[in-house]
Amino acid sequence: MSILATNKVRLLVQGITGNEGLFHTQQMMAYNTNVVAGVSPGKGGDWVLDGKVPVFDTVKNAVEVTGANASVIFVPARYTADAIFEAVDGGMELVVCITEGVPVLDMMRVKEYLKGKTTRLIGPNCPGILTPGEVKIGIIPGNISLPGNIGVISRSGTLTYEVLYSLYKEKRGVSTCVGIGGDPVKGMNFVDVLELFEADAKTDAVVMIGEIGGNDEEMAAEFISRQMTKPVAAFIAGISAPPGKRMGHAGAIVEGRSGSAESKIEKLKSNGVKLADYPEQIATLI
């Protein structure tokens, strides 16, 4: 079953009647993902995709009728926080938020609200989850990955595809790929997902794709050295990026020296993680 979702999922699409929502619902269904409902305020009662998916005005209503237990969010950024709150109140076990451009203050409020609740949030600004051959929640292309035993976690979008594709070309299979998104304030982080991979019987090794900024990778390095028995290989993007535009002194004080590609690479290496120089190299490291 790999991590986070199975083909038993009863998926709800929030923002299903938008262009992206509709297109990717089709793609997810083509991958045999069990999409049971859509939500689009004011359009409850409609059916989309040749009458295959019923649309509801609210998550609560959709859950009452269809028993949805997971949600993927495609609503515009200004409504995204509300959509996440609604999904949490609706009792979703898993929420995958694809939308990019969500205000950071909204996300900080979301994070406070999630405390003490059982909902797992992936994203926002992420490509979602793909368990090859079984289920796809989000927008990761389904045709560049084979089922297998490598877990993939990434903060990036298209860079994830690049890595999946390079594994695919080497005929290396993936248990689950989780795109956690690159926003500063988000749902699950590297450590949360590494924990799931460590516990997952179908996963034997993990590929981690990070980038500059924040200290998620540094935290992950510590977790790997402390808790992981499975091998981990990583690529960190941004070693040649221009020095970040720091936010005044405050940013420097809070982040200190962490956040640079060098800091992340060094920390990961010293905790036993193999580092790739470029994405395509990663298939050779595990």
């Binding site: 860079l159 941004g238 040649s240 002194h249 120089d277």
Partner: protein, 380 residues
């Protein structure tokens, strides 16, 4: 989005944070007049959207209107980190008895707003933070509950603020918190917040960065954007809806997705090349956007080759191909291009590009190597 010091101060003043008397000037004569109005002793401060202006000589204390005129002439002719100075802030000079640092930003690790204060404010605050982190007081705030009075008291205790200043300082902290949340700032800073010789608190400098993603909630603040004060290419990029950062190299890059764009630059560097820019066209880019992005790359005369790397997911390769064709038609350029397109509608894209004089690559490694080769040939 960064605001200028004077814009940030105006915003603070609306929240009753005390700021020095002062006004903006765009000419030396205006600065002279303001200096007269303000009583003779003023500080002339370059208004630029980068830090380090003090060390660059962009902040000067003057004692007479004549001196103000002279200094302003000199500052208005400066460039600070490549940005021209178009305005100066003329502020009354303040006698300082103590400098405090005060700031609020988003703490990624805590996933919360964090309030930072230090009894030793001023330009060396980052050094203080590194050498004596114990002097820096930090307080995480629950964004649903908001900043509470006891947190302010804890901060005041931590920086050993004499009790006579607790009330006015607390009011300033709370006001700064309001600015931060009301305006969707990602950073709001007062450095230094000074205690004057006659025991008043005054925000001597002000820095705000606004969350670009939240500007839709603040059309009035969005209007404060100073396009003249920004880097030209970045402004252009924003206009076309792409993310662009100029660099020093000679291989122009156009990629979809920030992570992949960085990885593309990294791989160029890894094999010995030098990227000329970071350019992310985002997801689902139109042919028009692609064409604009290529024109933007070509505007940089250092560029000797272009590497286009697109992994089509939401982005359709055929749209990208059409954009390339369009750009080649519009711009007379002999800069060679390496194109690597994978994913959605990849075959269609190849067809569209079949007539163009391009070099293809199947992988990112191959693409990078080919672009580097082209530059080397060029250099010979």
């Amino acid at each position: 989005m960064k605001l200028h010091e004077y814009q940030a101060k105006n915003l603070y003043a609306k929240y009753n944070i005390p700021i020095p008397k002062g006004r903006i000037a765009t000419s030396a004569s205006e600065a002279r007049r303001l200096c007269e109005e303000l009583g003779g002793k003023v500080v002339v401060k370059a208004q630029v959207l980068v830090s380090g202006r003090g060390k660059a000589g962009g902040v000067r204390l003057v004692k007479t209107p004549e001196e103000a005129e002279e200094v302003t002439t000199s500052i208005l002719s400066m460039k600070i980190k490549d940005l021209p100075v178009r305005k100066v802030l003329v502020d009354e000079a303040i006698s300082i008895s103590k400098e405090i640092y005060l700031g609020i930003t988003n703490d990624r690790a805590a996933q919360k707003p964090v309030l930072i204060a230090c009894g030793a404010g001023g330009v060396d605050i980052e050094e203080v933070a590194q050498k004596t982190p114990g002097k820096i007081a930090k307080m995480e705030v629950d964004s649903l509950l908001g900043l509470r009075d006891y947190q302010i008291r804890d901060i005041e205790l931590s920086i050993d603020l004499p009790r006579q200043f607790w009330r006015p300082f607390g009011e300033i902290i709370y006001a700064l918190w309001k600015v931060y949340t009301d305006c969707d700032a990602t950073m709001a800073e007062i450095n230094p917040l000074v205690i004057t010789a006659d025991n008043h608190l005054v925000a001597l400098d002000a820095k705000i960065v606004l969350d670009e993603n939240a500007l839709f909630r603040h059309p009035d603040l969005a209007d404060l954007r100073d396009i003249d004060g920004e880097d030209w290419a970045e402004t252009q990029g924003r206009k076309f809806g792409v993310s662009f950062v100029k660099m020093e190299g000679d291989i122009g890059c156009m990629v979809n997705g920030a992570g992949l764009a960085m990885a593309t630059m990294d791989i160029i560097s890894h094999f010995g090349g030098k990227p000329a820019n970071f350019l992310d066209i985002g997801g689902g880019a139109s042919s028009e956007k692609v064409a604009s992005a290529i024109r933007l790359i070509l505007a940089d005369r250092n560029v000797k080759a272009i590497l286009i790397n697109v992994f089509g997911g939401i982005t359709r390769c055929d749209e990208v191909a059409e954009g390339i064709v369009r750009a080649c038609r519009d711009v007379a350029s002999d800069v060679p291009m390496v194109v690597r397109l994978v994913g959605t509608n990849e075959d269609k894209a190849r067809q569209i590009l079949s007539g163009a004089s391009l070099v293809y690559a199947d992988s990112l490694v191959e693409g990078a190597k080919k672009a580097i080769d082209m530059v080397r040939k060029e250099d010979k």
